[in-house]
């Protein structure tokens, strides 16, 4: 299985920005009060900060003219006291607004992301298996992590910064025009240069950043691979080669990250000083205009002082905006990728036949709530609304089934087979012969292209998928367990199972014995796919999990790992007990399973090339005979 991508991928550009933004706004809009809160508080704090600079100077002037040189006494403060109060109020407003803004943004971000994650998961969980086949887990994970993270960065900071910068820039711009139209032209020209520079630097930095991420991935991947194989390195005396190779890629990483880091931190001094340069140039031209006039343009000294102040306010946030702009693009690209998954078509289900528990009396089936060991197919006829019940027997037929995963390469070709209730059907064949595919078609992980599969004579497309799958127990070769206790894991087969039923299932699967030797017994917590258990023990648990579901039909992908003989015996016995009295499809790896099967299908290249019971096939002296006597090797 591919590893999840631990590094952020390259910076992607969104494909349809407008559409994505609209849709994203809908998500943000769900919390409209919080959004309104952010905007209002941003405006208040902008006003407060303007207020601070506007009122501070008069306060100072007033104070000086009133009190300088006089005898110090409290009464001197009386004229200024109203200013002081006013200032205090403005300050407090500023502080409260800044807090309010941040708080609204936190809740807005957290709630929006929560909804988004939920929608994403709900959608992904409903997607068909083919979706999971076509992408590595890491890629799906990265929508939950990287893409959501880039949205978080933007929503929590970028949004309010963009709003406040926009207010400051617009406000200053209007005031600048008011005080000096022609001078504004100079400032705007300078700002255009700054924006251009930011963009160029940003591109350069993105290039190095991408390279850095790539090299970092290489280095980290190599470290992981070598450390995991460190013992092999030792056995082969390969230490020097490892060091040499590592030093090469380490050097590549050093170069790339030095570049990335340089451009990232060089931006600040450049922007700051461009602002200063801008100031100097504007001041000089302003002074020329104010003192001498310039082609008829004049300006008062007071206006120039004000203008200079506003031109600083104007150019300062430009840097911020251009940085936020990058974040915004990344966030939109992330949102787009998330929406892409939300829009994926879920697994369709047109089935209407459902599976119910039933009791049988004198051949009459009655539906009931509790588990009775008897099941019935419930048909609701759409024509007249009448309901009929049909007993579940476990008969499965394939009729001329042809299947291809990609529509190009045929994996199964004209497969027909018939399993009577309680029969055991074994599939034998090489990797890629189509054994697992057949079992995946019975439970409709994939849809067949041609032919029919019938379950108790019902076309399985008419059975509701959930009910179809509920009637089929699966034990897969790669056992997958969940984080949680052993009991939780067994109960996964039947959420309503009592503790007694869980223990009973574990006993049936021969798992009870080893569970009891664990310090916490059934309450032992498994973590990381049950990595604290041996392969054999995990297998036993997965058998118990299928046993507690007590399904009428079983699909087994027999496991043959290098488990010691004793455990293998236990698994075999557990499987045998589980199979008793059920229709079983088994992908066989052991001769003993095959020998007592009612029918053995030998598959090759998606076709059944031989069928019959063990004795028939041995007598035929065909491929099965070769396999059995070890003359032919499966690969």
């Amino acid at each position: 299985m591919p590893k999840p991508n631990r590094n952020r991928g390259p910076v992607r550009k969104p494909k349809d920005t407008q559409k994505t933004v609209k849709r994203l706004m809908k998500y943000i809009g769900r919390e409209k009060w919080l959004l309104a809160g952010v905007i209002i508080f941003v405006i208040i704090s902008a006003v407060a900060s303007v207020g601070t600079s506007v009122f501070l100077q008069p306060l100072i002037d007033d104070m000086f003219s009133n009190i300088s040189g006089k005898q110090f006494s409290l009464s001197l403060f009386r004229p200024v006291i109203k200013y002081l109060w006013f200032m205090l109020m403005v300050f407090l407003f500023g502080v409260i607004a800044s807090y309010g803004k941040a708080k609204c943004a936190v809740f807005l971000t957290a709630r929006t992301l929560k909804t988004l994650r939920k929608d994403l998961f709900d959608s992904v969980a409903d997607l068909p298996i083919s979706f999971y086949d076509s992408r590595p887990n890491g890629e799906i994970m990265s929508r939950f992590t990287n893409d959501v993270e880039s949205l978080r960065m933007f929503l929590s900071q970028g949004l309010s910064q963009l709003i406040s910068s926009a207010i400051t820039i617009t406000g200053s711009f209007i005031l600048m025009i008011y005080y000096g139209k022609w001078l504004t032209v100079i400032v705007v020209a300078m700002v255009i240069v700054m924006v251009f520079l930011t963009k160029k630097l940003g591109e350069k930095s993105a290039y190095f950043f991408k390279r850095q991420q790539k090299e970092l991935g290489t280095v980290n991947g190599y470290i992981e691979e070598i450390i995991e194989g460190q013992k092999v390195v030792k056995v082969f005396n390969h230490e020097q080669e490892v060091k040499d190779h590592f030093n090469e890629i380490n050097e590549d990483l050093r170069k790339a990250s030095t570049g990335a880091n340089t451009f990232a931190s060089i931006l600040m001094p450049i922007m700051n000083n461009l602002t200063h340069i801008n100031y100097a140039i504007t001041a000089f031209f302003g002074a020329v205009i104010a003192i001498k006039g310039f082609f008829g343009v004049t300006m008062t000294a007071g206006a120039l002082v004000a203008f200079l102040q506003y031109s600083r306010n104007f150019s300062m946030p430009i840097t911020q905006v251009s940085q936020q702009f990058n974040n915004a693009i990344m966030a939109i690209a992330g949102a787009e990728r998330i929406f892409e998954y939300i829009d994926e078509k879920p697994e369709t289900d047109d089935g209407y036949v459902t599976l119910v528990n039933a009791t049988q009396k004198d051949g009459e089936l009655t539906e009931c709530k509790e588990h009775t060991g008897t099941w019935a197919w419930k048909h609701i006829h759409s024509a007249d609304g009448s309901i009929t019940y049909q007993k579940l027997e476990g008969k499965v037929e394939f009729e001329g089934v042809t299947f291809s995963y990609d529509g190009k390469k045929t994996v199964l070709n004209d497969i027909s087979l018939y399993a009577k209730p309680g029969q055991k059907i074994a599939f034998v064949g090489s990797t890629g012969a189509g054994k697992t595919t057949i079992t995946n078609l019975i439970n409709r992980f994939y849809e067949i292209n041609e032919g029919k599969i019938r379950y108790d004579s019902i076309n399985i497309q008419k059975i509701k998928k959930d009910d179809l799958r509920r009637s089929l127990g699966m034990v897969l070769q790669d056992t997958h367990l969940f984080t949680g206790t052993i009991e939780d894991n067994i109960r996964y087969g039947n959420l309503d199972a009592t503790h007694e039923q869980v223990v009973e299932a574990a006993k049936l699967a021969n798992a009870h014995e080893f569970i009891c030797t664990l310090p916490d017994g059934y309450n032992t917590v498994l973590s990381g796919d049950g990595s604290n258990l041996s392969q054999g023990q995990r297998q036993l648990l997965s058998i118990a999990r299928a046993a507690v579901a007590d399904p009428p039909v079983l699909i087994l992908d027999e496991a043959t790992s290098s488990i010691d003989t004793r455990t293998e015996k236990l698994i075999e016995q557990g499987m045998d007990k589980l199979m008793a009295g059920r229709t079983v499809f088994v992908i066989a790896h052991r001769l003993s399973t095959v020998r007592n099967a009612n029918a053995i299908m030998v598959l090759e290249h998606g076709r059944i090339i031989e069928r019959g019971d063990h004795d028939d096939l041995i007598a035929q002296k065909g491929r099965y005979y070769q396999l059995y006597t070890g003359q032919f090797e499966l690969s």
Partner: protein, 584 residues
């Protein structure tokens, strides 16, 4: 952290010059507002009548020069910092890999794979970033703080007293808030890990989820952890968002305090309007300089844990090293154990008093239940571990007398948990012998019965294996690993359960290949299947860390109960007949 600084040696010039340039940048940054103030003074409506354009031009030019100087200092410093910081990180990684390559198996066991990887990746990044910050801010922030403070004090001592109240207050707030924030963030990160793990689990187990019809159940589980994560992140952010308003509050309080305190100074004519205004513009610089200084110290503290973990690896000494005058030549492939006991670390002896002798060129099988110390036994032969008691002899000489290189070149081992590396099949095989010709590769693969499937790949020996050899089945992987070991042309070849995933027929072919093609090599085979070892010259039966019996198949079948039990359990009919790992 400071102990690690020696790894920045190569870049010390950069690391020294960078802070000096930073000082330059700070100085110009402090000078610039003064020039601006002068410009404003000249064009002040009150003074504009006497204004002189030359004067303004001169000031403007001065400002330009300062800005360019500041730009120069800042940019060059940024570049130097990047070179030094990233170079330091690279040196650290290099030192770590160097050190880890010298580790013995028990060193590796002590750290565990996952923790070594974290130390070499995440921890290095943390320390590297701290170093970067250190050289960039070590002078910058304190100088910004100190020089702004000095200017304020020079303007008015009385007014500057305000800072002696405000700054300690900030420290108190940070001392209270900081740890709370860190605690909450750690909790959030933990929740985040859990959240990711649960999605990951859902993805890997998707077939189980779907076949048990548990989609809704999983959705509910997800909602739970989603809610949990949301709560934890709000909880953590709530503290963080106090930062900005608090800083504003501190600034405003300082300004108001200055206004009030300076009233006295104004009445005494100690301070002018211009100076008074200047003090205000330094308030922000003082506060920022102060905060950056604290942040730098905090970062150093936080990275201390990572630095310590790196230090641990760098300080770990390999416990298996070459002897002083090593023997470079292994005479033959004989092996002898004399009363050997072995324990992992300080644990219990898991191999007890083992003695036996294998002649050069023999084929020897080892059997026993899981946990009977078969692997531990054979790992002593190439000195992957050292015996705790007794002597292990190879070619008639104690293994401790050989140089590790020559011993391990003579003893080739296919480990139970074997790995292939990314690269082509040929690349992987050449691990056994870097100079092997294509013919030699084919030859080794034929012995290991790997040639047929390798040549069936469209790219043959140039097939790319992907990370961890994901593109071949379990049985194929095992055969490649055997071929790789054969390429070393060893005197002793050890297969530790190396054919568990190949079918019996192939297993037999491999054994026949080994017997016929490398008859002089001693072959030691650990196996689960009787058929894998029944034709060996000797079979060693292990039970519970002890050697239970040694004999041929026939002898053991007659007299040894354990062997007979296994034999009966594996009688024809319960054998596998295809290989695992190939099935998806």
């Amino acid at each position: 952290m400071f102990k690690l600084l020696k790894y920045a040696k190569k870049y010390r010039i950069y690391a020294f010059i960078c802070p000096l340039l930073m000082i330059g940048e700070v100085i110009f940054e402090l000078l610039l507002p003064q020039v601006m103030a002068q410009i404003v003074n000249i064009i002040d409506p009150a003074n504009i009548a006497q204004a002189n354009l030359d004067e303004i031009f001169r000031l403007g030019l001065r400002m330009l020069i300062y800005a360019f100087c500041s730009l120069f200092c800042g940019s060059v410093a940024a570049r130097l910092a990047a070179v030094a910081g990233m170079g330091f990180g690279a040196e650290l990684r290099s030192a770590l890999i160097e050190r880890v390559q010298s580790f013995s198996f028990s060193n590796i066991d002590r750290f565990s794979t996952a923790s070594l990887i974290t130390r070499m990746t995440t921890d290095v990044t943390t320390v590297q970033n701290s170093f970067l910050m250190l050289i960039r801010s070590v002078f910058r922030a304190p100088i910004q703080l100190v020089s702004a403070l000095v200017i304020c004090i020079s303007i008015s001592k009385r007014v500057s007293r305000v800072f002696s109240v405000v700054l300690p207050l900030i420290i108190i707030v940070l001392a209270i808030g900081g740890p709370i924030a860190i605690k909450r963030f750690r909790r959030m990160l933990k929740k985040f890990d859990k959240f990711n793990a649960s999605i990951q689990e859902n993805l890997t187990n998707i077939r189980v989820v779907k076949s048990f019809v548990r989609t809704d159940y999983e959705k509910e589980k997800f909602n739970y952890s989603n809610e949990d994560l949301t709560k934890a992140s709000i909880h953590a952010e709530k503290i963080m968002i106090l930062g900005e308003p608090l800083l504003m509050l501190a600034m405003y309080i300082t300004i108001l305090a200055i206004v009030i305190v300076s009233a006295k100074a104004i009445t005494l004519l100690e301070i002018s309007v211009g100076d008074f205004t200047a003090v205000f513009s330094y308030v922000m610089q003082i506060l920022m300089g102060f905060l950056f200084t604290i942040a730098m110290i905090a970062q150093l503290f936080l990275s201390e844990a990572s630095a310590k973990r790196i230090q641990e690896v760098l300080n770990e000494n390999s416990d298996i090293v070459d002897p002083e005058n090593p023997v470079e030549e292994v005479k033959d492939g004989s092996v002898e154990f004399k009363n050997v006991s072995f324990a992992y670390g300080k644990g219990k002896n898991i191999l007890k008093n083992a003695s036996f002798k294998i002649n050069s060129g023999e084929m020897v099988g080892i059997m026993g239940t899981t946990g009977s110390s078969k692997s531990s036994l054979v790992q002593l032969i190439p000195r992957l571990y050292d015996a705790s008691e007794g002597e292990v002899l190879v070619g008639g000489l104690n293994v401790k007398n050989y140089s590790l290189l020559s011993l391990r070149n003579a003893v080739s081992m296919v480990l139970q948990k074997n790995v292939l590396f990314s690269g082509t099949i040929a690349d992987n095989l050449r691990w056994g012998n870097g100079d092997a010709t294509d013919e030699e590769l084919v030859e080794a693969c034929e012995i290991a019965d790997a040639h047929s499937f390798v040549s069936a790949f469209p790219d043959g020996y140039n097939t790319d294996l992907g990370q961890g050899g994901v593109n071949v089945s379990g049985g194929q992987k095992q055969r490649l690993c055997i071929a790789r070991a054969i390429l070393k042309k060893p005197k002793i070849l050890i297969l530790d359960d190396s054919t568990s995933a190949v079918d019996t027929a192939t297993d037999a072919k491999i054994r026949a290949g080994l017997r016929n093609s490398i008859p002089d090599t001693t072959k030691i085979i650990i196996a689960q299947r009787i058929s894998s070892i029944s034709d060996c010259d000797k079979i060693i039966i292990m039970d519970n860390g002890k050697i239970n019996d040694i004999g041929t198949h026939g002898e053991l079948l007659e007299r040894n109960e354990i062997y007979r039990d296994i034999y009966n359990a594996q009688q024809k009919g319960s054998d596998d007949f295809d290989e695992i790992g190939g099935e998806q």
